[in-house]
Symmetry: C2
């Protein structure tokens, strides 16, 4: 005897009514609902998701796909998404494409995610973080009819949430310009991290545009690339400050971790921050406060939460149109930036 049947029997109603009552359908009388709930509780009944999914076509589960499973940003987004989903009674199944250490190679992994996993119908929808989906992948998703929301960039036919990276970069640069800096170096992402959405490029563009707008010539020697880590920022800064051809009074790093690396490198070279060198980052990393780092916060947990909300709308209203919205950011001034030293 199936489980729901026991509940029905105990409550003295039909299985259909149990189903309706427990699903919160409004067409059940208050009295019946109470009886059913009591019976369910007494028996410790929880619907079988497999049976429910099969019958209804809905899984109450959403997939989250990320390129990496490390990195401050991704973990925070995941956390935000997870909490929002849990609050809505949804499960989260995680997919990531990181093949960095052994295991299957990247392309193969991507294929598996799109071909096998997502199409097993295990999820009702998908949140793609910082992933530029390939055309074939988008087609597969559309074919499956599952709504998708993307964080971080344009995604054909999907709702997307993204931060205006160019504006963020301009704001950071202008903060430095306003403090009187004209020798502003930039530490951005390296090309091989530019696979998805060209985030590194857009941030570089914002920096260049801001300089230009203020009549400051940009110097290729002032631009370095790194891998978004503290160590990467440290090394890039060593190069920057050690190069006799340039004399930056400020560094704008495209992530807080790199900015922290810059602060550490400056210290090791005997430069005072911010007296001799101003440093600004992007992210709103917890460590930023510890290092007194001026930054532009981008609230990744909120991004995760918003993505979930957007997805839930699409799930509950098949007519909802793909929609793009801009994510908030905020300049947070701390102690790592100050007026430019007198030449």
């Amino acid at each position: 005897m199936s489980s729901i049947e026991k509940v029905a029997r105990l409550a003295g109603v039909s299985t259909a009514t149990v189903s309706r009552a427990l699903a919160g359908k409004s067409t059940v009388s208050q009295a019946t609902r109470l009886k059913v709930e009591a019976a369910a509780k007494e028996l410790g009944y929880v619907v079988s998701s497999a049976a429910s999914s099969l019958a209804s076509g809905r899984t109450r589960n959403v997939g989250v796909v990320m390129p990496f499973l490390s990195g401050w940003f991704y973990v925070r987004v995941l956390k935000g998404a997870h909490m929002a989903l849990a609050d809505a009674g949804y499960d989260l199944t995680l997919y990531h494409l990181d093949a960095s250490d052994g295991g299957t190679d990247l392309q193969r992994r991507r294929e598996r995610v799109f071909d096998e996993f997502l199409r097993r119908q295990r999820v009702d929808g998908l949140i793609a973080v910082s992933l530029e989906l390939q055309d074939a992948e988008i087609d597969k998703l559309h074919a499956s009819g599952k709504p998708v929301v993307g964080i971080g960039g344009p995604l054909a036919g999907a709702s997307t949430l993204s931060i205006d990276d160019t504006a963020v970069s301009m704001l950071a640069t202008e903060h430095l310009v306003a403090l009187g800096h004209s020798q502003i170096a930039y530490i951005g992402g390296s090309a091989h991290l530019d696979l998805d959405f060209h985030l590194p490029r857009r941030r570089l563009d914002g920096y260049t545009a801001a300089l230009e707008q203020h009549g400051i010539a940009s110097d290729p020697l002032m631009v370095r690339t790194a891998d978004f880590t503290i160590e990467g920022g440290y090394n890039a800064t060593l190069q920057l400050l050690g190069d006799p051809r340039v004399r930056p009074t400020a560094i704008f790093a495209a992530s807080d971790e790199m900015a922290i690396g810059a602060i550490l490198a400056a210290r090791d070279l005997g430069r005072r921050v911010p007296e001799d060198l101003s440093v600004i980052g992007i992210d709103g990393h917890e460590l930023g406060e510890f290092f007194g780092l001026t930054t532009i916060s981008q609230f990744p947990e909120t991004q995760g939460r918003l993505a979930v909300e957007s997805l839930l709308v699409a799930l509950n209203d098949a007519q909802a149109h793909p929609h793009h919205s801009a994510l908030p950011f905020e300049l947070k001034v701390r102690r790592s930036t100050a007026v430019a030293p007198q030449a």
Copy 2:
């Protein structure tokens, strides 16, 4: 017409044969298998996990429950588990109990995870990371008949993997003693983080035992607590080095992040590491290399992977007995520890 039926028709066999062929059952002839695979591929067929689960009772999905979704250790374990599961063709659904920022409170969250989520039969088994399950929770899991493997401590009736925290701590302390240190301070976890498995306590015990074994009196003033973060380690070290009643020549921190905080604090106070002060951590954090930190690595990704392997064994062999095994660790000497300065 159901999907599998189309494949069957195209391949000219019955749905049962399609099911068998695609599941890799050995009772299908090579020729038939090929025909079926070709048909499935042509139609882009992927089994519906809901239907398959309902019929077979297996979901090919495992749950991973963690107390937090931040913190270096947990993220690495998650990554390791995810990769191992993906390689085995399993999905991973994530549960975490972190209520740190708003949302439902902790106990409520725990209840939901155990009452609603896990019992929806969405998972075949569970991996619990650093979680001491309450009796009621264990009962619920047993009642559901799903295998559980725990990382980090004893779990009634489940297989567990854990590191010998006491031995790790003793090794770290003895490394310092062997370098001639006798004034060894300890920065451990604070009591409120001691909810699960008493990890902070066991590490403290190892430290105390090692000192005792070498005839070194332990001094309560040499023991500080922090929250496993860089900032926490920094502050604890400030207190330690600023206290006129003690003169530590070495600090043993119960995590690499705290150890890095200690190094930073020492620098800020003008103490040289390792000439004036040796510092050792536990973890094997990536940043450790950057800071030249001597540490005891504990390979969390491997822990995640091993947990998966252990769970898969239990899943494939109902007779498998709960089994405990010890996790590897390794002393990694870098530049932050050296012989004790002459008094």
